[in-house]
């Protein structure tokens, strides 16, 4: 009886807490989710040796125009650390401005531009993430696909292999694996 009563109290407590949080944050927007995913990919990726200057070096997340995240991405990674590493956001506006970053979001719907960017990144071990149709087929590694309101992944295994990155099978398991160029 006491136990049941306790359960009830706890349940009520959590219920109100959850509601309060939900009321405060509302439902996250699509890019808020994508920003979160972007940063979370860092957990499931192994970069080859030499991509970090030292063990404390930050993980650089780059966004090449067009930038759909705005301040949300910065907010998402603010204060976050994965494997002891902090995050740095870099924004690029042109292809020739591109420098090495660990994760690069390519949000352009322009296929040519996309290919240019990818070409530019060819020799670097950069986890390329996009959210436009055929991104993965074009040589990007991970592509966000919307099915209803849910976000799924397409992963270009060839591109992945080429980049020298290792993706956790847990990601692979829940993704559509494609054999693009």
């Amino acid at each position: 009886m006491m136990r049941k009563l306790w359960c009830l109290v706890i349940i009520t407590l959590f219920a109100t807490k959850g509601q309060a949080q939900m009321g405060f944050t509302k439902y996250p927007s699509e890019y808020q989710v994508k920003a979160k995913f972007l940063y979370n990919f860092a957990r499931f990726v192994e970069w080859p040796d030499g991509v970090f200057a030292d063990s404390n070096s930050s993980i650089t997340i780059g966004v090449i125009d067009p930038d759909p995240f705005g301040i949300d991405l910065d907010k998402t990674v603010e204060g976050k650390r994965i494997n002891g590493r902090g995050f740095r956001i870099r924004r690029f506006h042109r292809v020739n401005e591109l420098e090495f970053c660990h994760i690069l979001f390519i949000g352009t719907p322009d296929k040519e531009y996309r290919l240019q960017i990818l070409k530019r990144l060819e020799d670097w071990s950069v986890l390329t993430v996009g959210d436009k149709k055929d991104f993965a087929y074009d040589g990007g590694i991970i592509n966000f696909i919307m099915v209803g309101k849910k976000i799924f992944f397409e992963i270009n295994m060839k591109a992945l292999k080429k980049s020298g990155l290792v993706l956790s099978p847990r990601i692979l398991k829940m993704s559509n694996l494609i054999e693009g160029d």
């Binding site: 706890i10 959590f14 959850g18 849910k150 799924f152 956790s168 847990r170």
Partner: protein
């Protein structure tokens, strides 16, 4: 001592030992098994928790990506894949970081419509038949979700079941082993006891205390055996002593029996003798009574009662003095006698006159004697009614007096008559001229005279039977001197007559003998007026013989005369009279004449 229920069972020590060992070892084993089971269950619960923890961790680990990337399907598949192998997990669910249900798993075939519970705080607990676990899923210090696992206790139950089976098997096996071992090993204890019991039984059956138990161990049983043997020794000793005592007792009992019989006999005899003496006392023709030293009656026999004229009850406790039966002088006398008796002095019987209450008078003769019976002094008195005797005594005395008077009269008359004869002879002699004849007359006169003198002395004597012989001889010799005209100064007479009393039958012959012999002496011993003396001696010797010597210092009897064959009347008379006296006569004529006549009195 409290009796244990086991003691009440009708089992021998072997069975009891086996039972005790079996029961205790089984209980101990059972307890140990129960302990192990309980411990195992407890431990296994911990193990289960840990397992579940690990499982939850694995789930969390495998679902991080799904949670992070909000891939519910993947989460579901992961849950299903991971939990399918765990057949006790009946339910599991995954919550996102907002505690929203994210994925769930329900074991197939488990009939439950339970919705996944609302998430609770991290931890695990047992509820009913389930183990419930909530665990946070963390990633880089960030809470990304929560896992809930509900496991049934099938595993633990199965474990319990298999454990119980093992316990039962172990119990059965150990029971059997224990039984076999106990059956073998209990002999160590039971056999010495059996042996002891057997010995004890044998001892009690055969009553043979010389049997001994063998000591087989150094423990308490060995000690017991030793003490048992010691006890047997003691019992044997005691038995012997008892037997001895018993024998002695038997002998004593026999002695006692004998003694008792003897005593009974003695008592019987005593009773008989008592009865006899009672009858004797009661039936005695003489009064017997006892009194204390103060003269109070204690007992009196029938005769005593008759004499005193009182019943026994009236007499007992009374004092003779106070019965007013006696005159004052008699009372004084009787008191005096009593006092003497009290001092233990012998008293002579005394006569008293009793004035009895019925007015009659009796003369009694009382004889006291002090007796001591059982340390108590009392006076036994014999009392005799002598009234009758006294009366007849008086009569006898009277008649005796009469007879005495008569006898005196007779003696007097005889003397007088003899005196008359004497006088007649004298008168006659005056007419006789012949000297010889005259002499004969004179002699005859003297003889009669001597006889008359006896009668005179007899009637003068006290008892009329005996005379005082010296007086008689004096009178006789004086008469003879006078008769024969002896001149004074010529012949002297010496008399030495002891006071011998002689009866008439002896006195008359004696008197006649003296008369003859003195007459002879006077006539012949001193012729021509010679001087001389005549001695008469009479005495009695110790043999009751009377010796009579008559001698003179005269001329003596001629030698040729045999006095026993003489023809003279005088000597003839002497011989005849001596014979009449049944005595002897001896003549001695050394100096004068000496006759000795000896006769029995």
């Amino acid at each position: 001592m409290k009796i244990h229920p086991i003691q009440k069972l009708k089992l021998n020590i072997k069975q009891k030992l086996t039972l005790i060992i079996m029961v205790s070892s089984s209980i101990a084993l059972l307890l140990a098994c129960a302990g192990i089971i309980v411990y195992d269950q407890m431990t296994y619960k911990q193990v289960m928790r840990r397992k579940l923890d690990t499982l939850a961790e694995i789930i969390g680990n495998h679902c991080t990506a799904a949670l992070i990337f909000e891939h519910e399907k993947d989460a579901r598949e992961t849950l299903s894949t991971l939990l399918k192998a765990e057949k006790y997990i009946v339910f599991a669910s995954l919550y996102d970081k907002n505690d929203k249900i994210f994925a769930r798993y329900k074991r197939e075939g488990v009939a439950t419509t339970t919705l996944p519970p609302l998430p609770e705080e991290e931890g695990s607990y047992f509820e009913k038949d389930y183990l419930i676990l909530f665990q946070e899923i963390m990633l880089e210090g960030e809470r990304i979700g929560k896992v809930y696992i509900q496991s049934n206790l099938g595993e633990i139950k199965a474990r319990l079941k298999s454990f119980i089976i093992i316990v039962i098997v172990v119990l059965i096996i150990s029971f059997l082993v224990s039984y076999l071992m106990t059956a073998k090993l209990q002999r160590i204890i039971s056999e010495p006891i059996f042996h002891l019991a057997n010995v004890a039984r044998e001892v009690s059956l055969q009553k043979d205390y010389s049997i001994r138990a063998e000591k087989s161990s150094q423990d308490e049983l060995g000690f017991l055996t030793e003490r048992f043997n010691e006890m047997l020794v003691q019992i044997q000793d005691r038995e012997d002593a008892l037997q001895k005592a018993h024998n002695e007792l038997e002998i004593r009992a026999q002695e006692l029996q004998k003694e008792l019989t003897e005593r009974k006999q003695a008592e019987e005899e005593l009773k008989t003798s008592e009865e006899k003496y009672r009858i004797l006392t009661e039936g005695a023709p003489i009064g017997i009574y006892t009194s204390d030293c103060e003269g109070n009656f204690l007992y009196g026999n029938k005769m005593a009662e008759e004499i005193f004229g009182f019943g026994r009850e009236e007499l007992v406790g009374k004092n003779l003095v106070n019965l007013k039966l006696l005159s004052l002088s008699d009372v004084n006398k009787i008191t005096e006698l009593l006092t003497l008796s009290k001092l233990g002095k012998e008293t002579e019987p005394h006569e008293f006159t009793l004035n009895r209450n019925d007015g009659s008078k009796v003369i009694i003769r009382n004889h006291n004697r002090l007796l001591t019976i059982s340390g108590e002094k009392l006076v036994l008195t014999m009392v005799e009614d002598i009234t009758e005797r006294k009366r007849s005594e008086e009569q006898i005395k009277a008649s005796l007096k009469e007879k005495e008077v008569l006898l005196k009269e007779i003696h007097h008359r005889v003397k007088n008559n003899l005196q008359v004869i004497c006088s007649l002879l004298y008168l006659q002699s005056t007419k006789v001229g012949d000297k010889r004849a005259l002499e004969m007359f004179t002699e005859s006169q003297n003889r009669v005279r001597s006889m008359a003198l006896i009668h005179e002395k007899l009637y003068q004597s006290k008892d009329m039977a005996n005379i005082d012989f010296s007086e008689y001889v004096q009178s006789l010799t004086t008469y003879l001197f006078h008769s024969y005209g002896v001149k004074t100064g010529t012949i002297s007479m010496n008399l030495s007559i002891d006071n011998v009393l002689l009866g008439v039958d002896k006195a008359i012959p004696c008197g006649l003998i003296i008369n003859e012999l003195v007459s002879n002496s006077l006539k012949y011993a001193f012729p021509n007026g010679n001087k001389g003396e005549i001695n008469i001696q009479l005495y009695s010797d110790n043999d009751n013989h009377v010796i009579m010597n008559i001698d003179d210092n005269g001329v003596g009897i001629p030698e040729d005369i045999d006095f026993q064959k003489t023809k003279t009347l005088g000597l003839q008379l002497v011989n005849i009279l001596t014979r009449q006296l049944k005595g002897t006569i001896k003549l001695d004529h050394e100096e004068g004449t000496r006759f000795e006549i000896v006769f029995a009195r």
